[in-house]
Structure formats: C-alpha cells, structure tokens
Symmetry: C2
Subunit: 264 residues, 2 copies
C-alpha cells in the first residue's frame, strides 16, 4: 500500500509491530440487525473470505443508521486497521445514508459519480429511472467503484474503506470481485480437533500445550451435540508446522484421557 497519508503511515508502523499481520474491521450498518429482526450473515462470510486472503478480521461493529455514529466509527477504525469494510445503507431510500456519512468522514464532497450513473441508466428501462434510483450513484469525490454483478448499483472504495451493500447475495458477489485489490499478510492456518470430553477436564494439560507453543492461539469451545458434552479445540497460527505440532499434542491429551480425537 503506498503511504499516501499520515493515516496510512501510521497503519504501516502498526502492522510492522504486529509482525506483518494485515488487519481489517467490519462495520455492519443496520437498525434491522440491532433490533434483532434480521440475523446478520455478512460477518461470517467476510471473516472467512478475508482469512483466505491473509487478512485478519480484528473487530466487527454493528451500529445504527445514524450519521454521527457512522462517521465516528469509520474514522476510528480506518486509522487503526489496514482495511475497513462497511455493509448496509447504500440503497435508494431515505434510510440509506452510508455514502453521505462516508463522504463526511473523509471530509469530501458527495457527488454523482458519472460512471456509476451510466451503469444505472444502462440497467433500468427509461420509464423505471427514478431520482431515488439515480441517487445510488452519489458517492464521495474520488471514490473508486466496486462492481455489482447482481443488481448493477456499485459500491465504492475510498482509501482503505470499502463500502458494500447489506443484502448478503449481492455483498458476496461484490466482495469476490474486489479480492484482487486486497493485499494480505501471512496466511493464518488453523486446525480443529474435537473430543467428547468436557473442557474442564482438559484445561490444565491444554494450558501446558499453549505454553509450549506460544506462536499459536489455542481456543477451547464447549458444545452440546446428541445429548453429549464436547469440546472443540482450535489451533491458529501463521506457522503451519506449529499448528500441526500443537494439534498433535492436543490429540495426545485426548487419548491420554481415554477419548477419541476427531477432525473438527
């Protein structure tokens, strides 16, 4: 990433401190998620997609459709993380305020993007063109379009912020198209081992494995399945060999406790 701004230079220094790990934050803009009406599906999809590119999702925030909140949240996160993704609030109705809020966050003018307008005019029949629909071409000055292969209305990128729609089907197609613009760091490998043993029984030897492999993160997640208590143990690291070694040590603990380790 070229060091175009003070913020970019700051992110670069932070990334070096993190040992080359590239980070992202996700801002889910949506009263419908906060009210519990809609189950968010975008966090999981983006987390997995970013992971595959060597970008680590560091935080996700679900915030209201409220301009000062969007401005403050995006400004905080774009200075801290390498990439920020937003979902939601870029449709044609009065409650779609994301583009205007992002323009305000960057102190740029909101303008009608000529290329975005041209795409919308090609997509709709002349009799279906409304001012509301054309308003989906309003973006911060200098924004770069993100193609929308499903319903045409593009998203946009401005510096390290990527503005995507909330409808999962459309968001997913658009994210797949913009992957080439993202530069990941070291990919994170992970391995999950499952055992039908309560985590409280494994806790002490598990902590020893974590200490023996400090380059890895070992997570322990209890679950109930078919009336049985089990634990899913997930090892993550940029060091593939350490992941395998720690997972093997965990399998040893499980066997030592009379259990049968399974692939997670």
């Amino acid at each position: 990433m070229p060091l175009k701004s003070k913020a970019a230079a700051r992110r670069w220094r932070q990334k070096n401190r993190r040992g080359g790990v590239v980070t992202a934050a996700l801002v889910i803009i949506g009263n419908e998620v906060l009210s519990g009406r809609t189950q968010d599906a975008n966090l999981k999809f983006l987390a997995e997609g970013l992971n595959g590119l060597g970008v680590r999702l560091r935080e996700a925030r679900v915030i209201a459709d409220d301009e000062p909140t969007i401005v403050a949240t995006v400004n905080e996160l774009r200075r801290r993380d390498d990439y920020v993704f937003t979902t939601g609030g870029i449709g044609p109705t009065h409650d779609d305020i994301t583009a205007a809020a992002i323009a305000k966050a960057f102190k740029r003018r909101l303008e009608r993007n000529a290329e975005a307008e041209a795409r919308l005019r090609r997509h709709y029949r002349p009799e279906d063109i409304t001012e509301a629909r054309m308003s989906m071409a309003d973006m911060p000055e200098g924004a770069t379009l993100i193609d929308n292969p499903v319903s045409r209305a593009p998203g946009f990128q401005i510096e390290n912020v990527f503005v995507l729609p909330g409808v999962p089907r459309i968001m997913q197609a658009m994210f797949d198209g913009l992957k080439a613009r993202l530069k990941g760091g070291k990919p994170v490998f992970s391995k999950a081992v499952i055992a039908y043993i309560p985590e409280g029984v494994m806790a002490a030897p598990l902590e020893d494995v974590q200490k023996a492999y400090p380059e890895t993160e070992i997570g322990s997640y209890p679950f109930f399945r078919l009336g049985k208590v089990g634990t899913s143990l997930v090892v993550r690291s940029v060091d593939h060999q350490k992941v395998n070694a720690a997972a093997e040590a965990i399998r040893g603990i499980i066997r030592g406790l009379g259990g049968q380790p399974e692939e997670g």
Copy 2:
C-alpha cells in the same frame, strides 16, 4: 437506577437527552466468531429480549480474546450506555480471560467468589473437581452472581455490566433469569409491511411518509424471494398510534402502485 457513581450520573443525563430511551451495548468476546468459524447467535436473541423489556440495543461489538481490547471496549461502553452485556470467555480454560479483564476494567481485585465456588462444588462430583473448574468462581470483588440453571457456573454483574457465557443455550437461560434486574424505558413498537415492489419505485412517497411521521423510524429492506424482488418496510417508534398510522400510509402507497401489502 441509583446514581452511585459519576458514570451513572452521566448515563442518567444522556438518557434524559434521549427522551427516556434506555440503551444497551453488547460485547461479543470471541476469536471463533471473528475468524468466521462460528456463526454468532447471541446478538439476535439479546436484541429481541432487550427490546421486549424496553431496552434498545444501540451497538454490538465483536472483539478478540485480548485483555487490553476487552478492558478498553467495556470501559468505553459502560460509561455511554445504561447496560452492557458481554458474552464469551468465562469457561475453565486458559483462553477464558473475560472475568480477569472485567476486574481490570473496574480496577477491582479478582477473587474467588465463595457462593459461586459453593455452587460448583455442589454441582461436580468430588473426583471431577479441578482447579480449572473452580477458576470459574473467580470474579471481580463485589460482583453479583447471575444464576446458571443449565451448567451451574454462574455469570456475574458488576455495576451496569452483565457477564454471560458464549454458548447460546446457556446464555439464553441465564438472560431469562436476570430480566427482573433490568429496568426498561418506553417500549418500542414496530410493524412490518411487505410488498413485491422494488424499493427504488417506492422511495419518493416513502420519504414523504417518513417526513409526515418524524416520531417514527422507517426502514426499507430489499429482499429476493421465490425469484421475486420485494421490500420489507419496518416502522418503529415508542408511539404506538404513529406506528399504525405510518404503516397504514405505507399500505396506501403500495396499493397506489398496484401492489398488495402483506403483513411482515
């Protein structure tokens, strides 16, 4: 809520500015959600549950199992909102760091809670008692227990922060039990109207309805179902009559466009 502290007094002033609306923030502590391995289910449940009590979920944050991050996030949100709920990280393993982080956020000592320890000792057979399991009784000094009817290990409350586990089944049972401690504000009413009309066609008259009923929030959410494009229009307000009136106006728009309004 008694005004025990400066923070409580500040929240009280903010609430009055918000017209009596009581707010909550949710902090989902979990690398497994941020990595995309696990689909969060707690946001939707808590959002709906709080809504039913007249408490508005204002923001949700998904953060990593990282002590400085937990401390900073909880301290920011507990000073801003009336209630803060955390989920995750209160089990027996090395990656369960929430209780210690919350103690640090409140600058309190982490101590073994006698009542919590007694409950764990009653729950486990003597041969199943491990130090790891007993560590689930470690809580900030002065914490109030939150009963766990499923697996006994309690959560805890400290001032306006409620610390719950991440496993949905257990979290839900514990939340149901602590509802009596929460004091809601004016309940928010909502009504959803669905139409198989693209939102771009309704945008202009919809904005007029929003202007005519400024006491309401009208959200417009496009969807695809059975190959058809539709829009879900959700009206929300503490004023029940205004919700009904705005919903009726929206039904009028839909009929005027040749559509058939349906219940959402």
